[in-house]
């Protein structure tokens, strides 16, 4: 119907696709460098910087804290995101569209300004440099993603199913759990994945809200970019990249499996 795209257009796609992917991959060979300085192409191959990375208490603490923050952010975002999606789609009240704008706003507002504002608020509350503070801040920008993913699923689903369950005597919570939740599960999963990767990669809020004791992996990377420039940075970059790619691949795999299993 549409006809095959012309060879020129296809060549263009190859060029753009390459430019999208290739530049970032450069950090992988760099992480296997044998030299003391970051350079590409790397001078010699070795695992010495991986050993260094995993032996360094600063990097290890950052990895641990990043995982903690990302996991808690995901839980909080999913709970909040599902509630908001249900409330905004099923609820009937005035100012609904204004609330929707508010919920989506964190995605588009300048993060630096939010970071500065949260820095002031946290200073007053004396929670600068706490895991809880980082989790709350990350949730502000992560949970709209869950909201969008879940509300897309919710809008695509027929609510009469749930009503049918209700008419058969199920209470609302039971109907939600057994009918709605399984149907929106893919949306929840996508949202959770987005929430996790958002927190896992988040830098700007974390720069302002972390402390020397409590800091996430991207913050340590940022500090290293500015000061050390040792190949452990390339190791961290490679690991951060691989983590997210594995997560995305896992989610895609789950998604395809679901597709196959569903009749």
């Amino acid at each position: 119907m549409r006809g095959k795209p012309s060879p020129g257009l296809r060549a263009y796609g190859v060029v753009v696709g390459t430019l999208l992917i290739l530049p970032t991959l450069v950090v992988i060979p760099m992480s296997f460098s044998a030299s003391e300085f970051l350079s590409f192409p790397p001078k010699g191959l070795s695992l010495v910087w991986y050993r260094e990375f995993f032996a360094d208490p600063v990097w290890m603490a950052a990895v641990g804290q990043s995982l903690q923050v990302a996991a808690c952010t995901t839980v909080l975002s999913v709970v909040l995101g599902i509630m908001t999606a249900l409330g905004l789609i099923r609820g009937r009240f005035r100012g609904k569209s204004a609330l929707q704008v508010l919920v989506l706003s964190p995605m588009i507002m300048p993060l630096v300004v939010l970071a500065v504002g949260l820095f002031f608020v946290y200073s007053d509350w004396r929670i600068l440099g706490s895991l809880g503070g980082l989790i709350l801040a990350h949730t502000v920008i992560a949970y709209p993603l869950v909201y969008i993913a879940v509300s897309t699923s919710l809008q695509g689903m027929d609510q009469t199913l749930e009503q049918a369950a209700a008419s058969l005597g199920a209470n609302r919570w039971y109907a939600f759990r057994t009918v709605t939740l399984p149907l929106i599960a893919p949306g929840v999963l996508t949202g959770a994945l987005f929430a996790f990767t958002t927190s896992w990669d988040e830098l700007i809020l974390s720069i302002f809200l972390s402390s020397p004791i409590v800091k996430t992996l991207p913050v340590v990377m940022w500090q290293q970019v500015q000061t050390e420039l040792s190949p452990t940075l390339a190791v961290a970059a490679t690991l951060v990249m691989v983590t997210t790619i594995v997560l995305v691949a896992a989610a895609a795999w789950v998604a395809t499996r679901r597709k196959v299993v569903q009749p």
């Binding site: 795209p5 970032t24 409330g87 958002t198 998604a255 597709k259």
Partner: protein, 307 residues
């Protein structure tokens, strides 16, 4: 970010939902509209959460900007040329990034539109993958390519194409490359979404009525993709205004964007009042462009890519 949610998993979501919808509709046609007060309560936690952790911080920033030590913080924009110039730099950078993203994204989205579903999936993945890679990692990787002794300059020097290294970063070019790279998905997906809404028979119909391919494309296809182009351009432009990591690593301190000045004032100079004032100006710029945008497209479409 939003549109990726849909595109990424759309296969799975649509498949399950399609099943659900047909069964549901067949089983029990809706009589009364569901909804009501029970559901309304569910938005309260989010409202409180956002009030405290989203609105309050902006309010605090606004307050600081006029009380620490006073409203004179804003005077910096006309007393110090650095800040006025930064306004121009910010605006110009956002414009350059938007235009280059549009020029690259449109043919790419068109290619996706014309491709087989499998190919379109691959093309989608190519745009999404960098998005999933940490912005810091991507930007840092660009420095490896673009710096004076980077991969590109070394190669060109070795090949004898150039005699002296080209200034590929620490300038607007470097910032534009890095930001276009990372904001491209936000342009591709709304345009692609608007293309997918066009009936595949439309252009052939125009051609059967005697229009040339180029003419049919220009008069029929192009105008129909305008909503996607507009929402894509808006989100890319608005997000560019507040970008920090990429300009900080690839740009020049002589041509700093507003976000860099904010970080400099708050983190290095520890001038919270001035930092806040610049922050509020950046926020106001963002809001103005968003408001102008919502005259043309719905806010939700700007953020979520026009679904």
């Amino acid at each position: 970010m939003a549109e990726l949610g849909e595109v990424d998993m759309s296969g799975a979501t649509n498949a399950t939902n399609a099943t659900a919808t047909t069964t549901g509709a067949a089983a029990a046609p809706a009589r009364r509209r569901p909804g009501g007060t029970g559901w309304n309560l569910l938005v309260w936690p989010a409202l409180v959460f956002l009030a405290v952790l989203f609105l309050l911080p902006f309010f605090q920033t606004a307050l600081r900007s006029v009380t620490d030590p006073g409203p004179a913080n804003y005077a910096i924009f006309w007393t110090d040329p650095v800040y006025a110039r930064s306004l121009v730099t910010t605006f110009l950078t956002a414009l350059v990034v938007t235009v280059s993203a549009l020029l690259i994204a449109y043919p790419y989205a068109y290619l996706m539109y014309r491709s087989t579903p499998v190919m379109a999936g691959v093309l989608t993945l190519l745009v999404i993958l960098p998005f999933f890679t940490s912005l810091l990692v991507r930007t840092y990787a660009w420095t490896v390519w673009l710096q004076q002794t980077g991969v590109i300059n070394s190669a060109l020097l070795d090949l004898g194409v150039i005699d002296a290294p080209l200034p590929l970063m620490r300038n607007l070019l470097g910032v534009a490359i890095g930001m276009t790279h990372s904001l491209l998905p936000f342009m591709v997906f709304p345009i692609y979404a608007s293309m997918r809404r066009i009936s595949p028979a439309l252009v052939p119909a125009a051609r059967s009525l005697g229009a040339t391919g180029a003419f049919a494309f220009r008069t029929v296809f192009l105008p129909l993709t305008a909503p996607g182009v507009i929402s894509g351009s808006l989100i890319v432009f608005v997000m560019s205004l507040g970008y920090y990591v990429t300009p900080a690593l690839l740009g020049s301190p002589n041509n700093a964007m507003l976000s860099e000045l904010i970080v400099n004032q708050v983190e290095q100079q520890v001038e919270f009042g001035i930092g806040s004032a610049i922050g509020i100006v950046l926020l106001a710029l963002t809001l103005v462009f968003l408001f102008l945008g919502t005259r043309v497209v719905r806010f939700k479409d700007i953020v979520t890519g026009g679904r």
